[in-house]
């Protein structure tokens, strides 16, 4: 077990847990990509990616299947190193340092069936060296705040799809990192649950802002949840358009997505997607 990450008052983990109010915006939490390219052997998956996400901005990545969105996400959060270009998360450019600053939420919830809901959520705290009781105590507050109270001891297979996704998001949030990388977090949910979860995530990011990169294949989801949306082309993925969302994380989702400017932004994104897929 690593002793060096044991929680200190100033360590990132305790910051989140204690944070009832939004943490102060630090410019150091920005994400930036410069000329990023990547290939698997002969196959080039990404080329010349330039992206900028200021601190506490939510940046969306949409693109056709197989365009390298998920790879890009893994590069950003330090699970891989890019073949070309530089990626900086909060000023850190090495993969190891990015990994320490960015928490990754995989496409499937991947809750561990041998742990209860709260132990799944508290996984990062346990990894950071907290004892089981302290970790549970820290996660319990978030369960309360994020509508999961009463389900602390539930086994993952006793939770609904939406709840599993919430626990998975809390697990990512609780790691206490300034940046989050979310890979199609709601792709497996039905339409109604997905809309609910989008509102839930919007509210969660209002109370606990982070710099977020969100990959999705759903243009409407991207435009609702993100401040800006980058559209990627088919392989090798390049940025073909960048749009500014008109009503990011608006409290009334249903009203926001039917506004004229939202609809025209969605059409613009769809057009860029179609052109990029050719």
């Amino acid at each position: 077990m690593r002793q060096d990450t044991r929680m200190k008052p100033e360590s990132p983990g305790s910051q989140t847990v204690a944070a009832a109010a939004p943490a102060p915006v630090a410019a150091a939490d920005a994400i930036s990509l410069r000329g990023v390219g990547h290939s698997y052997g002969e196959l080039q998956t990404l080329a010349g990616i330039e992206l900028e996400a200021p601190a506490h901005e939510v940046l969306g990545l949409v693109g056709p299947s197989g365009c390298g969105k998920s790879t890009l996400l893994e590069l950003i959060c330090g699970l891989q190193d890019p073949g070309a270009g530089t990626i900086s998360v909060g000023g850190a450019t090495s993969a190891e340092a990015r990994l320490a600053r960015c928490a990754f939420m995989p496409q499937r919830d991947l809750l561990l069936p041998w742990y209860s809901a709260i132990d799944n959520a508290a996984l990062a705290l346990r990894n950071q060296g907290l004892g089981r009781r302290e970790a549970r105590g820290a996660a319990a507050g978030l369960f309360e705040r994020f509508g999961l109270a009463g389900f602390e001891a539930a086994r993952p297979d006793e939770l609904s799809g939406g709840m599993r996704q919430r626990v998975a998001f809390l697990r990512t949030l609780i790691a206490g990192k300034p940046a989050l990388a979310l890979d199609e977090p709601f792709a497996a949910l039905d339409a109604i649950t997905r809309a609910e979860m989008q509102e839930w995530l919007a509210a969660a990011l209002r109370t606990d802002p982070r710099t977020v990169v969100l990959v999705t294949h759903d243009v409407e989801e991207a435009l609702y949840l993100c401040d800006r949306v980058a559209v990627l082309s088919a392989r090798p993925g390049r940025i073909v358009a960048e749009l500014t969302a008109p009503h990011p994380r608006a409290a009334d989702r249903d009203a926001a997505v039917t506004e004229a400017d939202f609809v025209s932004a969605r059409e613009g994104a769809m057009r860029a997607l179609r052109e990029g897929s050719r």
Binding site: M1, R2, T5, E74, C77, G78, L79, L99, A100, C102, A103, F104, M105, P106, Q107, R108, L110, L112, P113, W114, L123, A124, R126, N127, Q128, R155, D157, R171, T172, A175, A181
Partner: protein, 250 residues
């Protein structure tokens, strides 16, 4: 209810038929044998009772061989599986050897072991462990390799050290598969122990079965077989129970 009643009914039926055939001398006549060579279930039961001290003594010897053999196989097998999972190079080098080791007939190995290590418990433990090593190692390795690579990425991103990844994700994920291996090992271990005793031993159920055969003590021989099967069944039951206690998420 049905799950228990049907097999119990069948056992009762078979025992009844055997009792009838043996006590009327039908089997002995058909095979032109002396009656005492074909004991009835009732005779086996009374032999079981009369020889309870002797049987228990020898069963304890065999049980020790089985348990120590399985424990050795578990320690070495799980250790090997973890090392092979951790170091690809070792897996590529050792895996074919482990498969090949399974093709060496124990029938050949056991006598050599007795020559080398004598009549003590050592060679028996070794033979049992040799039998059990393969299913345990292969299943443990399979279990470790079955871990979702996305879960490993998730853990890395949540600050997990290699050890934490192993303890919190890989090891629990491998447990159901490991138990499959242990169950196979438990089923085969009494056979391995009995065989090891046949090659050269001064006590144990296998040794008793062998000497009873030579002395035409057929009823007591059957009684020893009953004890051996009973022991194996209890071990299998205990393994299943342990699995249910440990792997609570299935």
């Amino acid at each position: 209810m049905r799950r228990w009643l049907l097999p119990l009914g069948l056992i009762a039926l078979l025992l009844g038929a055997w009792q009838l055939a043996a006590s009327t001398g039908a089997i002995a006549n058909a095979l032109s044998l002396e009656d005492f060579l074909v004991p009835s279930p009732a005779e086996i039961a009374s032999s079981l009772w009369e020889n309870r001290g002797l049987l228990a003594e020898n069963a304890w010897v065999t049980l020790k061989e089985i348990l120590l053999g399985i424990l050795c196989a578990l320690a070495v097998g799980v250790g090997m599986a973890v090392l092979m999972h951790r170091w690809r190079l070792l897996r590529d080098a050792a895996y074919p050897l482990i498969v090949a080791s399974q093709t060496i007939p124990v029938v050949v190995i056991a006598p050599i072991l007795v020559v080398w290590f004598g009549y003590g418990i050592g060679p028996k433990i070794f033979v049992v462990a040799l039998f059990c090593f393969f299913p345990i190692t292969v299943n443990a390795l399979d279990g470790l390799r079955s871990v979702d690579p996305e879960a490993v990425k998730m853990m890395r991103s949540l600050d997990a050290s290699r050890w934490q990844r192993f303890r919190r994700v890989e090891a629990p994920a491998a447990l159901p598969s490991l138990f499959t291996g242990v169950k196979i090992a438990v089923v085969f271990s009494p056979i391995a122990a009995v065989f090891a005793e046949w090659v050269g031993a001064d006590s144990g159920l296998g040794r008793l079965i062998q000497s009873d055969l030579a002395n035409y003590q057929v009823a007591r021989q059957f009684a020893a077989v009953v004890v051996l099967s009973g022991m194996a069944l209890v071990l299998i039951g205990l393994t299943a129970l342990a699995e249910r206690r440990v792997v609570t998420w299935r």
